[in-house]
Subunit: 307 residues, 2 copies
């Protein structure tokens, strides 16, 4: 096997669910001589400091990035540029700058013009998370067995790419390389549109006149409650995702709506075969996700049941 | 408190997820002198018999219903009428006939003309389940803490209604009484439309040309995999739900699509405030579902994570 990946100094900007999980996973892997975590929100930083998942903590992103060999920006996509402006002046020549955002083309376009030419900007996206937010919600095993997508620009420094890849592997991830554009299309269907329709149905349900909100809550075990979990995800992060991956989301949403209209028509005209065919096809995808280790087989997500 | 509920003979027609769970819960509650389970599928019946969750097993629904004080029909909504025809000739005067279907007005209309006038037809619907099917998937605690909606017809026999209510309570449920029509509207938004859009997005995702099915599966942890769980539910059961609750489903689907179009417009025009407002409102509904004991607080549905 290869040598253990090691950076003298890693800075993580943003101590939320993902940033704090990266910090814990870096510590678990022993991949940093010094790990410094920064968050501009003093309450968040002080919570992070109490949890103690890094060597150093600072509210000052510039101070954190100074002398870092690797900077991981873990803030909402819309805040990336502001972090870029802050840290650019102190970045070390040869440093790697990466991120964990759910949109990749927009992040690259926002950061690339801001950073000095002698650093390696290599965006990334660990496809993992929960509906919870903040430093207490993170945990070291969040990335275990999940995919991290790295979207290197053309002409990337191969050594820097390899080092970043090895770090994600050391944190438990499997790594895939693709273009930012393709990433954004893939995630639009596997993540962005699912979140949008979950938010949407929860909104629809809470605006009804004939069905009270209390009824929606009482009878949510029929399926609705699963959507509310997703629709409890961080509003700022998700607002930024939709604003920054507009084209791919609108494209996938168009297809979703077209298919839904066809289903609606099948219901209106009593076409049971069309419904049955789709409902049978979809079971196969579930099977393959479980076989691929991307979800648990346990019924009902393994929600606790006593026999 | 009241006397323990007891029936001399309970027959359950259908040994799938729900029927087999009712059987286990009846046994756990000690609510039947004799519990007989019937399923017309010999393989299912033999699996049920091996699991041993009743006193008697038979492929013959008529034989099961003979002399029963309570008959619980636990088959897909579209198969209710056929069961009604089969059991009607042997039903005992004063027997209670109920069901567990997800649609209530259609079930009543299908069964009512078939049954003799001297039995009490009182439809019901335990709002509980998992995505799995068959007798092995059931368990005794499925209904614990969940709501069971009973939809008695006008002029129902109060004694029969009370006895059925007490049985569901003895099986762990909380019971709510409402009209069949209102039930169908409530469930359209809390269960039927959520299932439809889950099936739909899984269908959309598997039909894409630009994103491979293998990519959809690999990166499903971004949200999509939660939809695949719901979209793995029994195809026959769900086809029948949509065919038999057409009006309410089309009404709720119309609202969902209208709201989704507004969200689509907000994305197209970069209206971040509209997105942020909705994404904040939806968190509150999640909170209230957890407070009401209808879902677990644990992140990610409590999927197993090592720290």
């Amino acid at each position: 096997m290869t040598d253990k990946v090691h950076f003298d100094r890693i800075a993580i900007i943003g101590a939320g669910l993902i940033g704090s999980s990266v910090a814990r996973a870096v510590m678990r892997a022993g991949a940093a001589g010094t790990l410094v975590v920064s968050d501009r929100d003093e309450a968040v930083l002080s919570e992070a400091e109490k949890l103690g998942f890094a060597h150093e903590f600072t509210v000052n992103a510039r101070e954190a990035a100074q002398d870092a060999d690797l900077v991981v920006i873990a803030v909402p996509v819309g805040a990336m540029a502001s972090v870029g402006v802050t840290i650019a002046p102190v970045l070390k020549a040869g440093a790697i700058v990466t991120d964990v955002g759910s949109v990749k083309e927009g992040v690259f376009k926002a950061l690339e013009p801001l950073l000095p030419g002698n650093v390696h900007l290599i965006p990334g996206h660990p496809v993992a998370g929960t509906e919870q937010s903040g430093p207490s919600a993170g945990f070291a095993s969040l990335f275990d067995g999940r995919w991290c997508i790295i979207t290197p620009p053309q002409g990337v420094d191969e050594g820097a790419l390899e080092k970043l890849t090895k770090l994600w592997e050391a944190m438990g991830s499997k790594v895939e390389i693709m273009t930012a554009q393709h990433h954004d299309l893939v995630l639009a269907i596997t993540s962005h549109v699912p979140h949008l329709i979950a938010y949407n149905i929860v909104g629809t349900a809470s605006d009804l006149e004939e069905v009270t909100r209390s009824e929606v809550i009482k009878y949510s075990a029929g399926g609705f409650r699963d959507f509310t979990r997703i629709a409890a995800s961080d509003p700022t992060m998700w607002r930024d995702v939709f604003l920054n991956n507009k084209d791919a989301v609108l494209e996938m949403l168009g297809r979703f709506s077209e298919d839904l209209t066809a289903l609606q028509r099948a219901i209106r005209w009593g076409d049971g075969d069309a419904l049955f065919d789709l409902f049978t096809r979809t079971r196969d995808i579930r099977r393959r996700i479980i076989d691929a280790g991307q979800d648990e087989e346990a019924a009902d997500f393994g929600r606790h049941h006593e026999e």
